[in-house]
């Protein structure tokens, strides 16, 4: 177990280094930060001087080494655009993204699980088919369009929900939450649905497919043959076994929720790290972009680790500690 975690951690470090390297080397191509940092009156000499100050003229290796050295200390430098320490910026934006991701993740998981189980158990029902077809609409339109359409319907026409922002927020230490105010919760609805719709569809389909497989397993048949109630068979046995593979995929989905938040946050002006990233891309705010990518990688790595551990908890077959060998 310990070895397992250690191995995953080692792997994670390698992954993080690769991600850092890849993302860092890519920034040279997204544009010239200097030209956007200076006003239009700036001269060639001004630009050159700024370039020099920023160390952009240093050899790549030096820049990268510098970046990594500071990054491991949690220092990603100063945002070119907003002139604040990137770490602070990201930390202040992270709660918004995490809350959005968490809520839409929960939305996607709960609904996906419920509908997936339903459509698996009632495979031939018309309602199942309707759900299956309708859910595909969520993956057949680009997220940004879904977001805009939701705004149009629920904010402009019906005026039920806010069209942008987080509503009123409450500071809990450094964590700024919108979950504690009615407007904060209302503001969360549309973005969370937009973001979660795609994942919900994936999870629902996955749950359905896995559940159908599991329902055909011998142990399910045997459970029925023992006269266990449908409830016990479907939910006690089938669902639990379905969850094992679903956990892995769902975990990965959570990671991509955070990444896909880029689009949702842009559409809903949600003050999270995704919107920060997109603004940074436009401005070639390299420190923020680098930090964001490393953060995303970190989130993925952490989620992967948690998923692996969950796997361990759920599936006794992986707990080799009690060893089949002895018997």
């Amino acid at each position: 177990m310990l070895a397992y975690i250690l191995r995953r951690l080692l792997q994670s470090v390698v992954v993080m280094m690769v991600v850092a390297l890849v993302s860092f080397s890519l920034f040279r191509f997204v544009g010239d930060p200097v030209s956007t940092m200076l006003g239009q009156e700036a001269t060639v000499a001004d630009r050159e001087a700024l370039r020099e100050r920023l160390g952009l003229n240093d050899p790549f290796v030096v820049q990268f080494a510098d970046f990594v050295t500071r990054a491991v200390q949690g220092d990603f430098g100063i945002s070119y655009r907003l002139q604040q320490p990137v770490t602070d910026l990201i930390l202040s934006r992270l709660p918004a993204t995490l809350e959005l991701a968490a809520i839409s993740g929960i939305f996607a998981f709960v609904l996906g699980l419920g509908l997936g189980v339903y459509t698996a158990l009632k495979r031939r029902g018309w309602l199942s088919n309707a759900i299956m077809t309708a859910s595909l609409i969520g993956v057949s339109l680009p997220t940004f369009l879904i977001g805009v359409l939701l705004i149009w319907i629920f904010a402009v026409e019906l005026q039920w929900l806010p069209s942008f922002g987080r509503g009123e927020v409450v500071d809990l230490g450094w964590w700024r939450t919108g979950l504690l105010t009615p407007s904060g919760r209302a503001s969360l609805v549309l973005p969370a649905v937009t973001l979660g719709l795609y994942q919900m569809t994936l999870i629902m389909r996955l749950v359905r497919a896995e559940m159908l497989e599991v329902l055909r397993a011998d142990y399910i048949k045997f459970a029925r043959a023992r006269g266990l109630s449908d409830r016990a068979v479907n939910f006690g046995h089938a669902l639990k076994n379905t969850l094992v593979p679903v956990i892995t995929i769902t975990g990965l989905q959570l990671g991509s929720i955070i990444a896909f938040a880029i689009i949702t946050e842009t559409v809903f002006q949600w003050p999270g790290v995704g919107a920060l990233f997109i603004n940074s891309v436009q401005f070639v705010d390299v420190p923020v972009m680098a930090a964001y990518l490393v953060l995303i990688a970190l989130v993925f790595v952490v989620i992967n680790l948690i998923v692996d551990l969950l796997y361990y908890v759920v599936d006794p077959r992986l707990r080799a500690d009690r060893g089949a060998a002895g018997h």
Partner: protein, 533 residues
């Protein structure tokens, strides 16, 4: 069923229950109004000298003040300076008489020393404003309310450069270690980025960059009390979302209204739109100086041929662009200069009607009967409908046989192409903060050398003209100077250095009952907001 979507305005929530309610209560609310103001982007920093950029200045104008201001008609207005002028004895010195009885938000009185400090700070190496103060040699406080600015030579228009140079408090800056604008290489955040101590009409109550900024009226401000007592400023990047926020009543004023939505918004009950020209001209430019183009499929440089340039002018249907692409929200022009600018004349502003046949003849005459191929670079997120304008022109050029590849990209990729001379043909918009033609000549017309010609992507080089441009800087005889400007423009127009398209119209949409005039530099002040019954 309507959900309470307005709690953001905590301090005056009652007033915001609905515009109708507020209006019904009438003028009783004057002086205690909250305005929820949205535009596409946020101010990047509160440090007034760190970024020379429109939205940043626009917000800072509410917090800090400049010596002179710019009225919505483009004229200079007194702010912290009540009077200014060139020293009667020395035409290299500018004299500023300062307003008395002004205090900073922390209560410190405003003095000449603060001006000296602020101008010096704006000239610092890490300042983004230093380009506007390149001709300043030194600044001196003559007495508590008089400042002398010593120029390197005669600088008749220097005061025009001051409309965005904000005045800070020396003690406050020293106390917080922000005597100079932040150096990015430093690795530490500067205190001035998120904190401010100005003399402006509003103080910063809350600042969450790119999310929300709350400004409250500064009771000790010297000027008349504005009707708006609180500003909630929210950037909303997405066009559709921003318009939606206004339609759903979540904001009161929306800047940067997409042109296609203007008409519809005007027709919407409860919403008004105010439009006005921006001090910015949109034009195409081409590399007419190089021997070879980088992207053309023909040898030599077709743009170097005046006949080709003329043909291209004749192919541009500005009225159609105005009509369709800009939905009427532009002023087509024949000169690369907004009407506010000193040097603008109606004659220059005239533009030819498109004549595709003639254009084709000209091309054939120039030796390109079958046209040629070239790449046009356009930004897609900088000016109103920038991409669509370029696209429309691509279609028009196609009609005379010039086959254009359109490359549309974000501003951070587009502008370096011009600065680094990596594009043959591009779209650019040029704002003129000094409201004088010299600013245009310096950056766009003068050959690239030293501080001049930085944006001369046309590679236009006319030594004679260069000399005249340089002379403009020191010519104090305004009449003679204006004559020179006219001469330069005549040459520029004759050589067709640019292919001007139009001046943008700005549009501010707001809920009915509010009025806010359009500011030519797109820097509206909420002190100008008035509420009607």
């Amino acid at each position: 069923m309507t959900f309470d979507r307005l709690p953001k305005a905590r301090r005056s929530a009652a007033l915001l229950g609905g515009a109708a309610v507020a209006l019904a209560l009438g003028a009783a609310s004057a002086g205690a109004e909250t305005i929820r103001w949205a535009r596409v982007g946020d101010a990047l920093t509160l440090d007034p000298h760190a970024q020379n950029e429109g939205p940043t200045h626009a917000l800072n104008h509410h917090i800090y003040e400049t010596l002179v201001g710019r009225a919505t008609d483009g004229t200079l207005t007194p702010r912290l300076a009540t009077e200014w002028g060139i020293h009667p004895d020395d035409d290299t010195i500018w004299v500023f008489e300062l307003r008395e009885g002004v205090t900073f938000h922390d209560g410190t009185p405003f003095e000449a020393d603060d001006v000296v400090f602020s101008l010096e700070r704006a000239m610092a190496e890490t300042s983004d404003m230093k380009g506007l103060h390149g001709a300043v040699e030194s600044v001196e406080a003559v007495d508590e309310h008089t400042v002398h600015v010593q120029m390197e030579g005669p600088a008749p228009l220097y005061v025009q450069n001051l409309t965005n140079t904000f005045i800070m408090n020396r003690e406050w800056a020293e106390e917080h270690d922000v005597e100079e604008p932040q150096d990015f290489a430093g690795g530490e955040e500067s205190y001035a980025v998120r904190n401010a101590n100005g003399t402006g009409p509003y103080t910063v109550a809350e600042r969450d960059p790119e999310v929300r900024t709350v400004l409250e009226y500064f009771g000790d401000h010297w000027a008349e009390t504005p009707e708006v007592s609180e500003i909630i400023y929210t950037p909303i990047a997405e066009d559709a979302t921003r318009v939606a926020a206004l339609l759903s009543g979540e904001v009161d004023i929306v800047q940067d209204v997409p042109v296609q939505d203007i008409q519809r918004l005007q027709e919407t009950d409860g919403i008004t739109v105010e439009t006005g020209p921006e001090n910015r001209v949109i034009f195409f430019a081409y590399d007419m100086g190089s021997d070879e183009l980088q992207t053309a499929n023909v040898e030599g440089n077709p743009f170097a041929d005046p006949l080709v340039r003329e043909a291209m002018h004749l192919a541009l249907d500005r009225d159609a662009i105005r009509q369709v692409v800009m939905r009427g929200q532009s002023l087509p022009t024949g000169v690369t200069m907004p009407p506010f600018v000193n040097g603008w004349t109606e004659e220059l502003d005239e533009y030819p009607q498109p004549d595709y046949e003639r254009a084709q003849e000209l091309l054939a005459e120039a030796g390109y009967p079958d046209g040629f191929e070239v790449t046009l670079h356009t930004p897609n997120d900088r000016y109103l409908n920038d991409e669509a304008i370029s696209q429309a022109y691509v279609g028009m050029l196609d009609r005379i046989g010039i086959d254009v590849n359109l490359v549309s990209q974000t501003r951070s990729l587009h502008f370096p192409l011009i600065q680094n001379r990596e594009t043959d043909f591009y779209l650019l918009g040029w704002g003129v903060p000094t409201f004088d033609s010299q600013y245009i000549f310096d950056f766009l017309v003068h050959s690239t050398e030293g501080a001049r010609g930085g944006w001369n992507g046309s590679r236009y080089s006319n030594p004679e003209l260069d000399q005249k441009i340089e002379a403009l800087a020191t010519e104090t005889d305004l009449e003679a100077r204006n004559e020179m400007i006219a001469e330069i423009w005549a040459q520029v127009q004759e050589d067709r250095v640019f292919l001007p398209v139009h001046n943008q119209l700005l549009a501010y949409a707001m809920r009915e009952g509010i009025s806010l005039p359009v500011h030519p530099e797109n820097q509206p002040s909420m002190t100008d907001v008035s509420f009607e019954d």
